[in-house]
Amino acid sequence: MTFSLTNKARILSSQNNIQPQLVLKIDGIPYLFGALPVTTIGRFDEGHLFDEGLFFDKPIEDPYSRDYISMESPTTNNITQQILQDKGGTSSISGFVIKLVNKNNELAEIFKTGNLVADIISRRAKVYMGFIGSVFPDDYILIFSGIIDEFDSSSGSAVVSIAHPDVIKRQEFFVNIKGNLTSSITNVQTNIPVNSTTGVIAPADIQETYIRIDDELMKVTSFTSNSFTVQRGQLETVAVTHDLDAEFSTFYRLQSTPIQLALKLMLSDGLQSFTSSEQIKSINYYSPTLYVQNALFFDDFNIEQELGLVEGDFIQITGSVLPANNITSTVLSFGTFEGGSYVVLADTLQDESTTTASFSFKSQYNVLNEGLAMLPEEVDVSGHLEQEYLFGTGFPELDIYLKDTINGKEFLDKEIYFPCGLYSIPRKARASCKMSAPPLSTQKVLNLNSETVSNLSQLKVRRSVHKNFYNAIVYKFNNYTLEDKFLNGRITYSSDSSSRINFGTKPLNIESKGLRNTAGNIQFIDRQSSRFLDRFKYATEYIDDVKVLFKDSFNYEVGDIVTFGGEDVQLVDYATGEKFYKKRLMEIVNKSVNFKTGEIKLSLLSTAFSLDGRYAVISMSSYVHTQTTLTRLKLKQSFYDGTYDIERLKYENYIGQEFRIRNEDYTYDQTFILEGFDPSNTGQIIVSGMTVLATDDCIIEIPDYDDSDQNAQVDFKIEYAFLNPQEEIASVTDASNFEVTNVSRFSIGSIIQVHNDDYTSESQEVKVINIAGNLITTDAPLNYIPIIGDFIELIGFVDGGLPYRIL
């Protein structure tokens, strides 16, 4: 998910001489430290005088701005992120260092222990990046967030070191507690006397607590300081007698889907406590033109972005003079306006045009009695939920036994993300995750070509059996209750890979303690193994050291999808035999940004390399207003898309492309070329080629698939889905030979699959090896004898385009 940019940030980032600006904001300290003065928007109610030389709609230097950041060493000037997909994690910088110049000895006063904050060490801090002229915080992006773990000062400067949230994830939790019985117990006794239960974690939500004594597991239902109440002989163990002084140790069980588990483990603090935050500006009422029922309003503060809250989280209001407003409620939605934001709550609030109230918040995932105590602003909750939304029904139910103390990051990466096909990534300076799946352009896609890459002639397309190559997936799962061994295994081997790349077996080993031996999990393992093989079985192509322009790519991160290639990219394409590298979707797997030089380097991975299908998303479309001139189309805000607050931004990447415009029943149906955006009207696009004026509510869409030329509509074909052809069987010779109704849609090499009307008969996928008249011959007999009228799928397109498949 790329960072959203304001229009101003977009314009500033597009200038030729970019001057990046860093801003450091420390929790509890009002000052904004910048490499240059930090500018913001002046407001009437902030006490500015008009004889100060202020102008309407002009940024002013923030009164708390302190341009103390020195870009010289040891200030971090390079950030690198790298995805390690085949290990379930990411390597990225573990810290960010900023050197501050001590002007007028002011730092001593700001950071003095107990002055503004109790102690600078352990404060949460954020680093933002913008450009000279950017308004803070609107036009900035968050590049690093963490906790100050080191503070060095000298007479002339201070150095602040901020540790990445991953450092928090690396802490140990669910610490294994041991103790002893204070008397012997029978095999039916449920009250277990012990010397101490200190440190034992009570069960909550998805977590159960057990104790192990000898080879018996007992489920803890409650405990005091020196005894447990238990259910005996749990998890297939047998209740037996135990001796005085026998040792007990804790044993925890976590059961849920991977996204829910990850969020609850990261966001739980053990106390389900609220975190204090900002002063509220007003309630329900902001201005005569802005009234939202049950809303809290904030100035200069985007509550959703800054705090990382999502719908369903909890807000607690205190300090209001209206007692009815001092409540705890649930977040329903968020909104923004110029210079501020608001959050809408589920409960009724009374109007306060100004208020003394402040609020605190709690994540809805803060439900466990043990966790990493990360704040929502350190976790990309919405990014996790997006993966659950996209792949949720396909995720397995994990059932993990914790027999020993665990390390947060290692556990999340190896036991939760990786076995489920996910890998952790930093997104928007937060802990996030992504699915190992073919690339999907779910966000605006950056086009990398001769215009946006500065070192095209030096690039190499590489493939290696030592990198990004596996031809077998080995799952070991169903961890035994009492010992650390796996009871089941499943190997998926790609014979296609080994017959093409003769390199022996190179397995990707995945060990999962949480996957149990259920039919659903076996299905998941098979499906995920196929996804891994799709990604790695042919030693997928990768390109390192792609130098891209700062303005184009500074808001893209590892895990984002870009297009690379085109007729102007003179790299030999060994997949097609063409002299240019055919445009395709690729994933950013490595990114390095230098703040001083503005240089950005990317590594790209072709995650759909040699696949026999395409994965794409729904294409954009818009309603238009009644057209008055053939060269302009005014777009309506159409359908739902939270990404685009200005409708025409949907089309930003496609200037020069042909679009279709039609009415509901296709009696009006034309095409036009998108020439550009009307600078005088943000709702209008400039078009050419139209001959008849469009009426109100005509629909703009991308045109039908052009199968006359595989190089036509390349951007649309790789990003967006079209309806695949479906054909019927006209006559049957045998399971390998049958006639079809429309043979012109088939070509030798096509993958096809045959099924009857209700899918009670469904063939495997086979390849067309011969076409004679209407007779198709396949490379292997179908696994059933088809009959006339059965359907043929996955034919693909006659330009050689692969069929669109369901992920």
Partner: protein, 181 residues
Amino acid sequence: MGTPVTSERVTMYVEDVAYKKSISEAIMTKFAKAINFIMDRIYYNERIVYHGYFSNSTFDSLATQIFIPTRCEIAYWTMTVMSTRSAGNNSMNFTVYDENGTSLGDLFSTAPIINQASISRALVGKDKDGNNINQNTTSGFTNGTLALTELQANYTLVPKITANSTRAFGMVFNLGLRPLE
């Protein structure tokens, strides 16, 4: 909570679904409109009719009990009295029995009531959008409030006249049930 796509009766064209058509926001929205239109209108109507004078002692409720085949919610209801004759409450409710025949109480916490002398074809109830329905009655009526909005499969509803004015006759009760599974 998301924003429901507004249901609309739309016509699908061959061009919408033909080979090579782009799968666009417009087409997906059109499908969504059509699906929501159909879903909004999937309900079945259970009708209880009592001809002639009615009272709680003359009404054979067991003979007209309603069986619930699938989990459903109450979409709407109407109660009609053909002629009230005199003033006094006219009302019908239903006893809800679970799959084991155990009573769960009444379907309505406040049953619909018509209480107005000498009116014909008086009708009260609520439509599928929760709006009150009133016809031919200007006072002395209650539209009714549900105690249970959702009924499980294999429940039964047994109707009962809970009040009748003297010589009132002709009771019709319509209950709209929207399947949930």
